[in-house]
């Protein structure tokens, strides 16, 4: 186990290095740069700015300078803000996005598997249709419509719900809900499908025929096995939720990390692009590792150690 973790850690470092390298090259091959704008800025001032931020140096040199900084945990200065460093922005934005994302994840995890399981147990009966129509609704409405509609029809009419903004718990309710629909639907449908599969397995039939109560069969055997595919998508679902959504954060005016993913790119704010990308990669890799570990622990058939093979 220790050896496995150590290996994964080494792999993670290599992965992140690859992400850094590819993103770095990609971002510098996209046209534009942080200091170009629609103004009369003379060429000298422009070049002065490039010099100040080291953009006049050869790309390879910039790359190694950047790697050196990253090793020290320094994401550098934003090229658009003279107030906050990239580290500041991530430290400030991530907790906000993660707060909303986590609430959304909890909602999705509370209702998603339950909806899916209920649907599977009542295949082709009304609870099935009801759950699935609910789930389909969740994946049928794009988040930009959902967010806008929430503001127009809910926030405007419920006096204690603010219309966007950030500060108190009540500010986080609608955005969390808007974010939760998609993963909830994804989980519910995946759960239904794998649950149906499991319910037809021999061991379920065996358990049933042994006279074990339905509840025990469902909870002890069916759900536990059916949840596996759900766990396998949890890594990507959770990492997307936790780092925030551009659309939801923009519509609800939330000062989170999600905004930076798009803003940094449209502004060509190089250090922020790199910072958010690396950060996202770390969150994703950590969660994928957790998912693999979870797999190993839930499903005794999967052995990740050498001896198991």
């Amino acid at each position: 186990m220790k050896k496995y973790l150590l290996k994964r850690l080494v792999m993670a470092v290599v992965t992140i290095w690859a992400i850094i390298t590819i993103t770095f090259l990609l971002m510098h091959s996209v046209p534009g740069n942080p200091f170009r704008a629609e103004n009369k800025m003379p060429k000298v001032v422009y070049e002065n700015l490039l010099k100040k931020y080291g953009l006049d140096r050869p790309l390879s040199e910039q790359y190694f300078i950047y790697l050196g900084k990253i090793v020290r945990g320094d994401f550098g200065d934003s090229m658009k803000s003279r107030v906050e460093t990239v580290n500041d922005m991530i430290e400030r934005g991530f907790p906000v996005s993660a707060h909303i994302g986590l609430q959304a994840l909890i909602i999705a995890l509370c209702f998603g598997p339950a909806l899916g399981a209920v649907a599977a147990l009542n295949q082709n009966k009304w609870p099935d249709y009801f759950s699935m129509i609910l789930a389909i609704l969740g994946i049928s409405v794009p988040s930009f419509i959902m967010g806008t509609v929430f503001i127009q029809f809910i926030a405007r009419n419920v006096s204690w719900l603010p219309i966007g903004g950030w500060g108190e718990f009540r500010h986080s309710l609608l955005p969390s809900l808007a974010l939760a629909f998609l993963p909830m639907a994804q989980i519910a449908r995946l759960m239904r499908s794998s649950m149906l599969e499991v319910l037809n397995q021999d061991y379920i039939k065996t358990a049933k025929s042994k006279g074990i109560s339905k509840a025990t069969v469902v909870l002890r055997h069916a759900v536990r096995n059916a949840i596996l595919p759900v766990v396998s998508i949890l890594g990507t679902v959770a990492s997307n939720l936790l780092v925030g959504s551009f659309v939801i954060e923009k519509i609800f005016g939330i000062p989170g990390l999600g905004m930076f993913f798009v803003m940094s790119i449209s502004n060509r704010d190089y250090p922020l692009i790199m910072g958010t990308t690396i950060f996202y990669a770390i969150v994703l890799i950590t969660l994928l590792l957790l998912v693999d570990l979870a797999y190993m622990m839930i499903d005794p058939r999967i052995k990740l150690t050498k001896e198991g093979r």
Binding site: M11, V14, T15, A18, I19, I22, T23, L26, S29, V30, P31, Q123, Y129, M132, I136, L137, I139, S140, V141, P142, S143, F144, I145, T148, V149, Q152, R189, L190, R192, S193, S194, L196, E197, N200, Q201, L228, P229, S232, I233, G235, T236, V247, F261, V262, I265, S266, I273, T276, T277, Y280, A281, L284, I285, L288, Y295, D299, R301, I302, K306, R309
Partner: protein, 314 residues
């Protein structure tokens, strides 16, 4: 020593012709795909979905010609007209007929959704399947590569690809977009497939097949892939809305389909402006058609899933 049995011939009668088949299995032997179709037909919800998809696919081409307007035709005297007998779905902010534009948009959305889902499916299954069955070392490397691809900012990729290919002209922009969109979106599918394969690889029937001397590709083709089809199909039907929404978000960021062409997502995005000023139909109509399309694909996906799984055969 020889036993002598003497049966008198009158003990025997000629079997009636109709009895000859008694020993035969009466249920006709059914091949796999016709059976899938038969079972799918019994699922009303799935058939509704299929019907809707066929209807929308037809209307996506025919619908633009029905009421005599062109999708780009503007009329500044008739802007923001609510649905009436001339403009069945009303007009937009430039006085264009929304009925025509909805079907035009459906054409693009369906195409984008299906193409992207197909590419996700093809790459995801291939990649995830290989990762799942090969050696642990290769699996590990493949999964790390998937992580790298998934972590690279997708917008950067889209911008870069659209810039690189922009010289290729307008016509190709749709394919450029689909290409850019699927460059990273197949990863969740690959991860799902790999997880399923890892699980199934350890299953009893795979083990049995292996002990009977089957090679890996046989097990993969005959046992593992058919058995992972359920969750994969569900994921494919989820890929279609994902791709349609991804395109809508790209339109929102200015990287989607080029105006005045449109997609359902882009129409809904345009319609957002009408919401606060009492022109809610401008967003509701595209939103309803997105939802119906999604509904159709999803129930069809569910139906197919049930129909494809031999264990659910009743």
């Amino acid at each position: 020593m020889k036993a002598e049995y003497n049966f008198s011939p009158d003990l025997f009668t000629v079997a009636a012709k109709e009895d000859r088949n008694k020993e035969k299995i009466h249920r006709p032997s059914i091949r796999y795909w016709p059976d899938v179709w038969r079972r799918l037909k019994m699922n009303h919800l799935a058939m509704t979905g299929l019907g809707l998809i066929i209807l929308f696919s037809i209307l996506a081409f025919v619908g633009t010609e029905i009421n005599g307007f062109k999708y780009f035709e503007q009329n500044y005297e008739l802007i923001n007209v609510h649905p009436d007998s001339v403009h069945w779905f009303g007009t937009d902010e430039l006085g264009r007929d929304l009925f025509t534009r909805v079907w035009y948009g459906t054409r693009y959305s369906l195409f984008i959704g299906v193409m992207a889902a197909f590419i996700d499916f093809a790459i995801g299954v291939l990649y995830g399947g290989i990762a799942g069955v090969t050696s642990r070392r290769i699996d590990s490397v493949m999964m790390r590569i998937a992580e790298v691809i998934y972590s690279i900012p997708y917008l950067l990729v889209v911008i870069l690809i659209s810039v690189v290919f922009s010289s290729a002209g307008q016509g190709s922009s749709l394919f450029v977009m689909i290409f850019a969109m699927t460059l990273t979106s197949w990863v969740p599918m690959a991860i799902l497939v790999r997880g399923q394969v890892l699980q199934l690889k350890e299953s009893e029937y795979a083990l049995a097949s292996e002990s009977l001397g089957a090679d890996k590709s046989w097990i993969l083709r005959k046992h593992i892939i058919p058995n992972t089809l359920g969750p994969i199909l569900v994921n494919v039907t989820l890929s279609i809305p994902r791709a349609i929404f991804a395109e809508a978000t790209l339109s929102f960021l200015g990287l989607g389909i080029q105006a005045p062409r449109s997609s359902l997502g882009a129409l809904a995005n345009d319609g957002l402006a009408g919401l606060p000023v009492g022109n809610a139909y401008q967003i509701l109509i595209p939103a309803i058609f997105i939802s119906l399309t999604m509904f159709a694909f999803n129930v069809l996906g569910d139906g197919l899933r049930d129909a494809l799984d031999p264990r659910l055969r009743k």
